[in-house]
Symmetry: C2
Subunit: 385 residues, 2 copies
């Protein structure tokens, strides 16, 4: 069997990559162990791993005292801190920024409140301040960041804007990627908050074992994010999951049943009103229980539409109202039973309000991995950096 | 760079496959041409292609007279007729069986009418007779068939049955795969008719250029099949696309507007009634136009639910009513504009009532290809045969 020059060049690339993947997610490894994992010869591994150390992808671990006979073997580890990623949640009420290394280990999280009525310039200024605080606290600069994702509310179009619809004031023409490109030179993604939350549930949440997931954001707003065959469903124009725009689905009306419940304190803001109703229902208040039943009845129509369209494995209940899953899940399940041919499993999110930033981190890390898998392995630095 | 034994064995398999793929879909090729296409050396190609001829995957073409200097080079072609596939549409009113070679070239089609009220045993007997007629006409036996797919109406569960729902009398416990396994030894797939029609549109229909497709079956029944990221969406339990089960979507009521149109001949069967209404609307009949408007209004709710959930590139209008697309498409487009954030392109199917059997052929061919790509290349015979 003849092997051409092209084959050899491809094979060297493949072999370098297989060393990187054999190092990642494993404890520090010897050349012999790497040879075993990759099927490559020891001399070949030795050459390849030295090159990875030179390039900054791998580090040598000082030999321990475990080997009792002769000189202990040198061990190599993947340098997960060779680069970092950011997930930035630009929410209605908060800015949340999370920093991780290349293996997704969380390094630092910084959060600042945002004014719901702030215009895009003011909101982006808060983003900048939050990023400043995080980088300073981590002892890093922008060039340490290899990839970042911004989460926003509303479907994100190809230009990274929420031109179709967004509840954030003035935000339909805002360009968060363009703004951040002024300081970060790494690739910047912008993605819808529900989609990022869905990604987070599969990465670190309650849906790690599933490939077909409907994520339901249940809160003052109602929304959905879809993972299909293990892949985030963006849609041809970035607008997948926007079933709530259909009037027949009644998601726009659903939270109103909670706000309209008799007995809600007049001074309560929407989120507080909902919390009051859930607590009252928990304590047996008949009117509150009716309000919750009406809410879940309307919520269920949109969930059923997604379940019937996609037949997922799991529906994850997330968003602010998921803290009251104890009284939402049962009536939601009953309503879904009426509508659906077959019911997926219902699970409650445990990620709290970090899910959007977490999902952003995951997308940024995926993007970094994709670039590593293509031509850029030989140069372990921030791409475009 | 050392190359281990495992690498070499994998490489031999890969190289055999690359010869097969370099032969397929190309005119008869010389060893030199194959070497150019695959990047392998001429001597290596010579050895590999001889083995493929011996095994029955490739055939030698007699040299033509084109080479004017010296002996013309031998040419090899992929033996597309080494095996065949069947697509079987078990419809309410007809049984349609299509036969193709391994490259999807249609060899023969046989169709027989079916009694809508026939029980499963009678319907499967008609399937057998139709298959008998086709095999006899093609001069083949069951062992010439390497893969087959059966299309049925209703979502198909993991056992190949339509246990959740089907309009075919008695069919919810019928086992078409089990029945056909009595005569065919190749793998047998059972799939929902709308799903197969969607596959056919991407293979040979109006959606060949798209990866994200909602196929709409518009006829006496209304249904949908989804292609997402180029892959048929089956759903976790085989029930994707069943949005019509949701009452808020009004698909169950939609065709009734046509049947209820004043002036429809009392003797007309449902399909004839619809055709009468479409023709009357075409001629300007005001009541018929109202009926069509009501029909498309209800049809649009379900289409909008799928478009909002998935944000596809294309919606294909198929099914019996697609013959009247000239008067359905415009009002459907207007209704969708009201509901959707962004509109996909609307196209009309041109495959007629062969789309289900065609989609079945495609799935059977995909299955054969998958088996070829795994361990079975070295033995070019019907798997399990």
């Amino acid at each position: 069997m003849a092997t051409t020059g092209t084959d050899l060049s491809r094979m060297r690339e493949m072999n370098q990559l297989s060393i990187v993947w054999a190092l990642r997610g494993n404890p520090p490894s010897t050349v012999t162990e790497l040879a075993g994992r990759t099927g490559l010869s020891r001399p070949a591994v030795d050459v390849l791993v030295q090159a990875l150390v030179t390039d900054g992808w791998a580090a040598v671990e000082e030999p321990g005292a475990k080997s009792v006979v002769g000189r202990p073997a040198r061990r190599y580890r993947f340098r997960a801190d060779a680069g970092h990623a950011l997930g930035i949640d630009i929410g209605v009420h908060k800015i949340l920024v999370m920093l991780s290394d290349l293996e997704g280990n969380l390094v630092r999280t910084v959060r600042r409140p945002a004014d719901p009525e702030a215009d895009p310039a003011a909101r982006l200024a808060t983003v900048d301040e939050t990023v400043d605080e995080l980088l300073a606290a981590a002892g890093m600069t922008e060039s340490d960041i290899w990839g970042l994702t911004v989460g926003v509310t509303g479907p994100v179009d190809a230009s990274g804007r929420t031109s179709l619809f967004t509840p954030l004031p003035g935000w339909s023409t805002a360009d968060p990627a363009g703004h951040l490109a002024g300081r970060f030179r790494c690739p910047i993604q912008v993605e819808n908050d529900c989609k990022l939350a869905a990604v987070a549930e599969r990465w670190k949440g309650v849906a790690q074992d599933a490939d077909d997931i409907v994520y339901l954001l249940a809160g003052i707003r109602t929304g959905a994010g879809l993972i299909l065959d293990g892949t985030l469903r963006r849609g041809h124009g970035g607008a997948a999951g926007e079933i709530g725009a259909l009037k027949a689905v009644r998601w726009l009306d659903a939270p109103g049943h909670l706000a309209a419940c008799p007995g809600v304190p007049a001074s309560a803001r929407p989120g507080e009103a909902a919390a009051w109703v859930f607590q009252a229902a928990r304590e047996g208040n008949r009117e509150a229980k009716t309000a919750v039943r009406r809410y879940t009845r309307d919520l269920a129509v949109g969930v059923a539409a997604l379940v019937l369209a996609l037949d997922p494995e799991i529906v994850v209940l997330g968003g602010g109202f998921s803290r009251s899953a104890d009284i939402i899940l049962d009536p939601l399940h009953r309503e879904l039973t009426k509508h659906c041919l077959r019911l997926p499993e219902l699970r409650t999110s445990t990620l709290g309000d970090e899910s959007v930033a977490l999902g952003g981190l995951r997308l940024a890390l995926d993007d970094i991995d994709d670039r590593m898998l293509s031509a850029e392995l030989a140069a372990p630095r921030a791409p475009r950096g």
